[in-house]
Subunit: 446 residues, 2 copies
């Protein structure tokens, strides 16, 4: 994946190489603004970044390709051949909350190393924060009901499918239908049946019977293939047949129609038949908004399969995330481009709590010692991980604790309040100094 | 990637296996509706699907994992061990136009084989059609100006980054910044420089000089780091210095601020200095809408870098694509779920032209012979490709021809007209018969 980079990372590196620029550079990764309706972010993706950095190395095949495009000197390609990541990384751990403008991760390394990893680092953290945040909103809306990731078929590629399974679980979802994600991350697997299954049998009842014969413990019957209420009646019949054998039907799934009305009718039918234990799953266009609506209206749904809209973060499919040079060769630097200001220098974020709840963050210079908990911590030194891979369950638990302690108004699904993030007076002072100096130097102002 | 599937594909397969259901099944892939402002789709992704099917095989490692989750019998796992895809695929070639409801691809194979590939097939075609269609709209808006894919850092994962580079080029874009995509698909690479590059030098002019020293033929200077007009004046100085050495500055890039005003001011400055050949590139939030706006207002932009909004298809990040069983064991089948109707049986799409322009498509049964060109053609038989991998340049040319011939009203970026798609009378008749039969059988109607 070393070639999964923008061409300009390599052309800039070639110039740094030619100019003999090997001084340490610090880059800071942060999100400039909240996407619509977002009031917080969940950190995710750090482990993948650290694995990438630790094993960073161009293959001969990569170098042959770079040679073939005719842009690079043999000297530079030879240099790339031996290039490894030898720098330092400080980061907020996965599963923790953070807010806009806060550095999620800061990389300090010789400038070529710190620059060349940019595209991968942004892509990785962007996607996972995006998905973990979307998933955590769905978990919040579901108020303890089960949530299963069903998004594999509609995510923007297999990588995204694996990441939503991981980030969804990290953010409190209960499992995934994605078998490869189950294997790779140890996430519980879940699944029901498709309409094609039902239609491939002579009739619906036959299809249900065949399924429960093979999976008596795990059968969730899809009942909307022809007509949901008629399907529910057949499911009752199956449940009764199972009872005679000492078995229990696990549940049914609704996938179309008026979910509020249907869920109540189906619940009533099962309850009337003494089948209180049969659970009702629902799928079809669910995300935090539709879950909240169903909850508020009183739908009788026990668990949701969330698919497309969560898997692509449909209401906010991207974030304004940036990886910016903040220090080079000991000097704080910044750009002035309109609307895209960067905070200079190496930084730290301090979180202040009151009664065990976060009430304010302060972005400060890294050497400052303010009150509150410092969020960024060293995770890599000299290109070697300090933070070893964490168990997904541990990250998940951390995330749950963080969210439980966050004010409901910040977690609101629509028009959330803004969590207070301040800049330390030292940072404000340095920022002003650097802006002044740059204006003077580049724009001739004084 | 065989485990990149939904659990239910495997549980359903286990039931088919247990029931001895090996009859041929036909599944049809289609898009149920147009995303906002879309009036057509560009087909893409077929080659990847065929490669996948041809090499489909569970590894021992996959099977060991499936064994470990405790759902499947040893007999079934043994069956999976020897499972290959032996079926037939008929499909619309890549780069061709298609419309809603039309089968993009039909798979006919023993039901387990045809079912188990569902998640991969949908995911692959969904993403590539989504991105090719988005890119083709941007190409249309750019009216011949250059378009480069800059989206790598913000796509939803590396897969999506590779696919937008390929599908963008397929749909008429001119290149990508994504080096791995350049290597993998032979797409021209392009790139400029980052703000970090400029800020890592003592001053902007130094950074420009250093870059053109190493890349005199390919330098596009990023001029908005501190102030765009001041940056443009420095670029003029660099261009003059280059002229003295018999070199030409290739271009400058604008990345922030009022692009309309700035592009005119920068153009005027260069022209006044006799630097007509210096091209103006623009990046920053461009998609088909912003490109069209710039074009209509008369911005002096020669080429666009399109990033995030195109790379995630931001205004329409997903499509309502489905892969549905339409025939099993010789019988046409369908589901009736509300709002999600499927067209029964194996089908063909016939395209009628007038004066060399497509004017109407007809979805028919596969055995029908109607006027017009049949779009679906055999691409795989008995699990072996008939359609060998096509050169990306050929697909790109096909796509250009298709789009050139399509009515402007269907290509409109907002509120396009609907291209006429009809159903053949035979299909309508069979559909009605099957619906009637299913209602009678499942709902007790007569």
């Amino acid at each position: 994946m070393e070639l999964l980079t923008d061409l300009y990372e390599l052309t800039m590196a070639a110039v740094y190489f030619q100019e003999g620029m090997y001084e340490p550079a610090t880059f800071s990764l942060f999100i400039r603004d909240y996407p619509p309706n977002r009031g917080y972010f969940i950190n995710a993706g750090l482990d993948e970044v650290l694995s990438y950095l630790e094993s960073f190395q161009f293959s001969q095949d990569d170098l042959d390709y770079l040679d073939s495009i005719g842009l690079f000197s043999a000297d530079f390609l030879h240099y790339l051949h031996s290039l490894r990541f030898t720098g330092q990384v400080r980061a907020i751990p996965e599963g923790r909350l953070f807010f806009k403008d806060e550095p999620i991760l800061e990389v300090t390394a010789p400038i070529i190393e710190a620059q060349i990893i940019e595209s991968f680092v942004i892509n990785t953290i962007n996607l996972q924060v995006l998905l973990a945040t979307k998933a955590s909103r769905s978990v919040h809306a579901a108020k303890g009901r089960g949530l299963i990731d069903f998004s594999l078929r509609r995510t923007q590629g297999p990588d995204a499918a694996l990441r939503i399974a991981r980030c969804g679980y990290l953010a409190g979802m209960n499992g995934t239908s994605n078998v490869l994600a189950g294997k790779r991350y140890g996430i519980p697997l879940s699944g029901t049946m498709a309409h094609s299954f039902v239609t491939s049998f002579p009739d619906e009842l036959d299809s249900f019977r065949a399924f429960v014969r093979v999976f008596p413990q795990n059968a969730v019957l899809l009942i909307d293939t022809y007509d949901t209420l008629s399907g529910a009646e057949k499911a009752v019949r199956i449940a009764k047949e199972m009872e005679e054998q000492g078995l229990q039907l696990r549940g049914v799934r609704l996938d179309s129609g008026d979910m509020l009305k249907l869920s109540r009718q189906v619940r009533e039918l099962f309850d009337r038949e003494g089948l209180d234990s049969v659970r009702i799953f629902a799928s079809g266009g669910f995300d935090e908004y539709k879950i909240q609506k169903m909850d508020r209206q009183g739908a009788m749904i026990d668990a949701f399969g969330v698919g497309t809209k969560v898997g692509v973060s449909a209401d906010a499919p991207y974030m304004d995330i940036a990886y910016k040079l903040v220090k080079y060769a000991g000097h704080p630097v910044l750009k002035l481009s309109s609307g895209k200001k960067t905070l200079v220098d190496e930084k730290q974020v301090f979180r202040t709590e009151e009664d065990g709840r976060p009430i304010k963050d302060t972005i400060a210079l890294s050497w400052e010692e303010l009150g509150g908990e410092p969020l960024l911590r060293p995770v890599m030194e000299s290109g070697q991980r300090i933070l070893q891979p964490e168990a997904l369950e541990d990250i998940r638990q951390r995330c749950r604790q963080e969210l439980n302690r966050l004010d409901e108004r910040i977690k609101a699904l629509e028009s959330p309040e803004t969590y207070p993030v301040e800049l330390s007076s030292e940072l404000v002072k340095l920022q002003a100094e650097v802006v002044h100096k740059v204006r003077e130097k580049e724009l001739g102002e004084s």
